[in-house]
């Protein structure tokens, strides 16, 4: 079971969170009309054996979206920050 150190709430069990997908992508601006750009955003994902940047939502806590770096093999979490602060 993962334990995530929420910057606001502290160390909490995985059961308080829901996974929010790959965080290495950035939403294209609203006026972007090219389908390929949107296609990449919606469908293309790297699948690293190693560190992965991802979003987790603290659903049963402060309801902050967090950006987390997690190793896909060992599950070790090496970084946690508010998604808002990471200026993506």
């Amino acid at each position: 079971m993962l334990r995530i150190d929420c910057p606001f709430c502290g160390l909490r069990d995985e059961t308080e969170f829901t996974y929010g997908g790959d965080a290495s992508r950035t939403r294209p601006p609203l006026d972007e009309t090219r389908a390929e750009v949107w296609n990449d955003y919606v469908y293309q994902r790297p699948n690293p054996k190693g560190l992965h940047s991802e979003y987790w939502f603290h659903q049963h806590g402060c309801r902050s979206w967090l950006k987390i770096t997690r190793d896909m093999v060992s599950h070790e979490i090496t970084a946690v920050a508010y998604a808002k602060d990471t200026g993506e």
Partner: protein
């Protein structure tokens, strides 16, 4: 016939003679004491024979004194508390305990199934892959008999009368095991100010200190134990959990433990759980789990009367029971002599010592001579002899070659010590593989310590209680940061002499796994057949797969693999350890999440009103909703048809509280809505609501709902019942991650407001009667208009919108006043004959109107598919606006929302039926669409359905077929508009 005689009970020990206990085994009443296990009490009464083996039904006796026991499995308890395969060696004895031996018929002493022994040639490794294969169909016939012949113990199908719960523990240090290392570590950490959780599987603290002879810092083990426990009991920083097994070691340093709260009482207190599953979260974990003794492999090494030497010591010193009258020791270790000396202290002289080593250290020769015990150095036991119990041994000089001279020794008990295997299961579960140390001829943990955990004492290879206590102290100091040097695994200064474990030449069965009846020749056969790795051998022979998970057999198997394949032991590898370390009840895992608690149900604030009105309920997602309100003699069908008719012809009231409700505030709220909905929101005036459709980024419809503008920067959004959580997450994702510049706050108000829909031609009249003095005219509340007012203290929010297609209003109040609102509306509804309707009728009404809901919003439909394409703005960008135009999503042969009318009006359709062309050809393949929602239309008095049909709009007027049961049912249907009634929406403006 009962007996008071515990003929093998001796003096001393830790049993409480002041608390005698009566119990039954195989129907006989026997006596023991508090502090006994079932096994020690059976032995005290002279009962060695406790079961019959799995495959061959050979007689089996008590082998060990702990959880490594492979033989003494019993059925404990009766009726709804019947538990099979309970280890008698780990089961605390209690007053009234009832147990039965297993796997035998008609009795232990005379088991007919022992005939299997005669067929043993055909029951070797992997026999089930090779036998009972022909004829092909006959397996099901064989299976019935095989199932009855195999298996151990019988469980019960009666419901479990006990409760279980989960507990979450937090500590600075968790110590697993309370032997010398664990006790020492716990005290060291606590005295340094740490919160310590000490976890012990036994009902007493002390581990080996409970029976092993030895000294710690000049004090006898027993005295050191007593003193240390007194210190621990006086230490507020140490929490002690006995009868608690740490069965799993998980990520993030979490230990899974099971506490056996009431497995030692006949009638558990119903207010207290029987067992607790404890999730232990500790900063650091110390594994002071001890070591298992290894047995030798020789002929008939499974006879009752053959035990591990440490078990014999435990029975004598802890339980005050003599394992037998004439005992022989077979060893290749120092520790064997320690046991011999310990027994001698108690006045028990061994009849002989057989030592496989050559040479045997001089001091052991001295000891044997002084004690008057015949010693056979460099000898092996070739075979044990006996029927239902050990009668004697055939021993030989090792290296006698092919013509051995057999020496026959008479005895009734053989105690053996062939080496030690640290209990490293928990560390291994964390992925740290054990490592073979040739000097010790033992597998040690992969590492002694890291930042999160450490192994201490015998688990790290330390042989004596003093070594273990010192190591435990060092380990604790390191983990709490008081010492910088990492503690180490045991490495003897001088390499000890080799401890040979010879395998004799004999035709008798040499068992490696007692519980699964796996012999040395099975392992050899497996290797011959090509199964070489330990993982393959394990599964092919089933060695190590029984409930004891090979605790006394794994090492010997690895040794045999090394010998047979002529490989270095270190190159053989081990199998993977997985939790649980010892068996776990499913009840403990389930805890309180059973029956109604498995999936919590949410209740509407109007729930009691529905109950009073006689509603039948149904679950919808998380919620319990009123399904229908049965009139006298009505079933659901009769009820919903009536209810829907009442709505269309008069007026009805339905609870809509389960819809998701989100409070949206902020200067950028309108902009935000504009970005997430397909239609425009910037011009929605205060006091009006709008129906909205939300797409996903991939262009598919995600959810729909209505959003009301309550104030300049204040909106009230509703979503579908089941989509609420996902929509909220989606919106918060957008605001926090993608558009943090927007000033919008979202708050779920699903539980703050409760609401009903009043629908039907007389709905306005009902509102008028319920809220006299409030203007409810069409000018005051136009279509999609919002009205907020306070009625005698009741806060009311009304929006004129319709799901049913009739003139309708959604009326909300704060949830705690739901009952008041209900009463007000029912009173106001009386003169207008207001009726109640439930979710079934609601479904019928919306299907008649062709309004989409869950079955149509299945995540694979676009707005265009649903006939809502026109809602999508062409003037702005919004979530999904680009990808919704991908070629595949704009083709006109896509499955579109359509209406279906069975040609025979009284033939019902079923949701999920596949649709095929009406061309008469036998339906094959996936068809051209499927039925999504069905109902009997009270208005049209016939069955109708909504469907997703390829080119549905083009096909209006054509005949197709709906198919079910793999083609067995074929129904002709006519395609029509999904808006079966009032397609112009005139009723909305009644």
């Amino acid at each position: 016939m009962s007996t008071d005689r515990q003929k093998l009970r001796i003096g001393g020990g830790l049993v409480d003679r002041g608390k005698p206990v009566t119990f039954r085994f195989d129907g006989r009443v026997l006596k023991g004491f508090a502090g006994d296990t079932l096994a020690s009490a059976l032995l005290a009464n002279g009962r060695h024979l406790v079961g019959r083996s799995f495959k061959y039904h050979r007689p089996r006796g008590i082998f060990a004194a702990g959880v490594e026991e492979p033989n003494a499995l019993v059925e404990l308890g009766a009726e709804d508390r019947l538990t099979p395969n309970v280890q008698a060696t780990a089961q605390e004895l209690y007053e009234g305990l009832q147990a039965k031996s297993q796997n035998r018929w008609p009795s232990l002493r005379f088991d007919l199934m022992a005939v299997n022994n005669l067929f043993s040639r055909f029951l070797t490794a992997g026999f089930y892959y090779k036998t009972f294969m022909w004829p092909a169909g006959a397996w099901e016939f064989y299976e019935k008999f095989i199932r009855r012949a195999a298996g151990m113990g019988k469980g019960t199908h009666l419901p479990d009368p006990d409760t279980y719960e989960h507990v979450h523990d937090h500590a600075d240090i968790a110590v697993v095991g309370s032997g010398p290392a664990g006790l020492s570590a716990a005290l060291t950490a606590a005295e340094a100010g740490k919160d310590v959780l000490l976890i012990e599987q036994d009902f007493e603290l002390g581990g080996t200190l409970l029976y092993e002879a030895g000294e710690i810092a000049g004090q006898a083990n027993a005295d050191w134990r007593r003193q240390t426990i007194a210190r621990i009991n006086g230490e507020p920083k140490i929490r002690v959990l006995t009868r608690t097994t740490a069965f799993g070691y998980y990520e993030n340093n979490i230990l899974g433990c099971v506490e056996r709260v009431q497995d030692h009482v006949l009638t558990p207190d119903p207010h207290v759980p029987r067992q607790r599953l404890r999730h232990v979260r500790a900063e650091k974990v110390i594994l002071a789990t001890g070591a298992f003794e290894r047995p030798f492999v020789f002929g008939n090494n499974d006879l009752p009367g053959i035990l591990l030497s440490s078990a014999a010591e435990a029975y004598v010193n802890r339980y005050a029971v003599l394992p037998g009258e004439k005992m022989v020791l077979y060893t290749n270790q120092e520790s064997g002599y320690r046991v011999a000396a310990s027994l001698l202290e108690r006045g028990i002289r061994l009849a002989a010592i057989i030592d496989a080593r050559s040479p045997v250290p001089t001091r052991h020769h001295h000891f044997a001579r002084e004690a008057g015990i015949p010693l056979y150095p460099a000898h092996e036991v070739a075979e044990a002899k006996g029927g239902l119990h050990l009668k004697g041994l055939v021993i030989r000089k090792i290296g006698d070659g092919l013509e051995p001279r057999d020496i026959r020794l008479d005895c009734d008990t053989l105690i053996q010590s062939a080496g030690w295997a640290p209990v490293l299961h928990l560390q291994s579960q964390r992925g740290i593989k054990p490592v073979y140390h040739a000097a010790l001829d033992s597998y040690l943990p992969g590492k002694c310590a890291d930042g999160q955990h450490a192994c201490a004492g015998a688990a790290a290879g330390y042989p004596t209680s003093e070594d273990a206590a010192v190591h435990g102290h060092k380990v604790a100091r390191y983990l709490i940061g008081a010492a910088k040097t990492a503690p180490r695994l045991y490495a003897p200064k001088d390499a000890p002499p080799p401890s040979p474990a010879p395998v004799p030449l004999t035709r008798a069965k040499c068992f490696v796994d007692l519980q699964h009846d796996v012999t040395r020749s099975d392992i050899e056969q497996g290797v011959r057949e090509g199964f070489r790795s330990p993982e393959h051998i394990k599964r092919y022979t089933t060695q190590g797969m029984a409930a004891d998970q090979g605790k006394t057999g794994n090492i010997n198997t690895l040794k045999i693999l090394s010998q047979v394949q002529d490989k270095e032991q270190s190159g053989v590898g081990t199998t993977t350890f997985r939790p649980p370390y010892t068996p776990l009840t499913i009840g403990a895992v389930a805890g309180r999440s059973i029956a109604g608690e498995l999936r919590p149900t949410r209740l509407s604030p109007f729930h009691d009103c529905h109950v009073r009105a006689g509603a039948e309920f149904i679950t919808a997602g998380d919620w319990l909703r009123p399904w229908y309100y049965p009139g006298p003699g009505e079933d659901v069908t009769a009820a919903y048809i009536r209810e829907a008719g009442e709505v269309r012809s008069g007026v009805g009231m339905v609870d809509v509280s389960t819809l998701g409700k989100i409070d949206i505030q902020g200067p950028d709220a309108a902009e935000f809505l504009n970005r997430v909905y397909v239609n425009g929101w910037k011009t929605l005036p205060v006091g009006k609501a709008r129906y909205g459709l939300m797409l996903r980024d991939d262009g598919m419809v995600m959810d729909d709902g209505t959003t009301w503008r309550l104030g300049e920067h204040h909106y009230f959004m509703t979503t579908t019942t089941t989509g609420a959580g996902a929509v909220m997450r989606h919106l918060e994702y957008l605001l926090q991650i993608d558009w943090p510049e927007l000033k919008v706050h979202l708050t779920s108000v699903s539980d703050e407001w409760g609401g009903v829909a009043i629908a039907g031609p007389r709905s306005r009249a009902v509102l008028g009667s319920s809220f006299p003095g409030v203007d409810v005219s069409t000018e005051a509340i136009p279509h999609m208009g919002v009205l907020e007012f306070d009625h005698e203290g009741l806060p009311v929010r009304i929006c004129r919108l319709s799901f049913s297609g009739e003139l309708a209003f959604e009326v909300y109040t704060r949830a705690g006043f739901a009952g008041n609102l209900w009463d007000l509306l029912t009173e106001g509804g009386k003169p207008h004959d207001l009726r109640l309707y439930g979710s079934e009728a609601l479904g019928a009404l919306r299907i008649e109107k062709g309004h989409v809901a869950g079955p149509e919003l299945d995540g694979r439909t676009t707005a265009d598919d649903l006939g809502l394409g026109g809602m999508q703005s062409t003037k702005k960008a919004y979530v999904g606006s680009v990808l919704k135009n991908r070629e595949g999503l704009i083709r006109n042969d896509r499955r579109q929302l359509a209406g279906l009318k069975p040609v025979e009006g009284d033939t019902p359709l079923k949701a999920g039926m596949l649709l095929f062309e009406g061309d008469g050809i036998t339906p094959k393949g996936h068809g051209i669409g499927h039925v999504t929602s069905v109902t009997y239309s009270p208005e049209l008095k016939r069955h109708i359905a909504l469907a997703l049909l390829a080119e549905g709009r083009e096909r209006v007027g054509t005949l197709i077929r709906a198919v079910d049961n793999g083609g067995a049912t074929v129904i002709d249907v006519k395609v029509c508009s999904p808006h079966f009634i009032d397609p112009e929406g005139e009723r909305l403006h009644a």
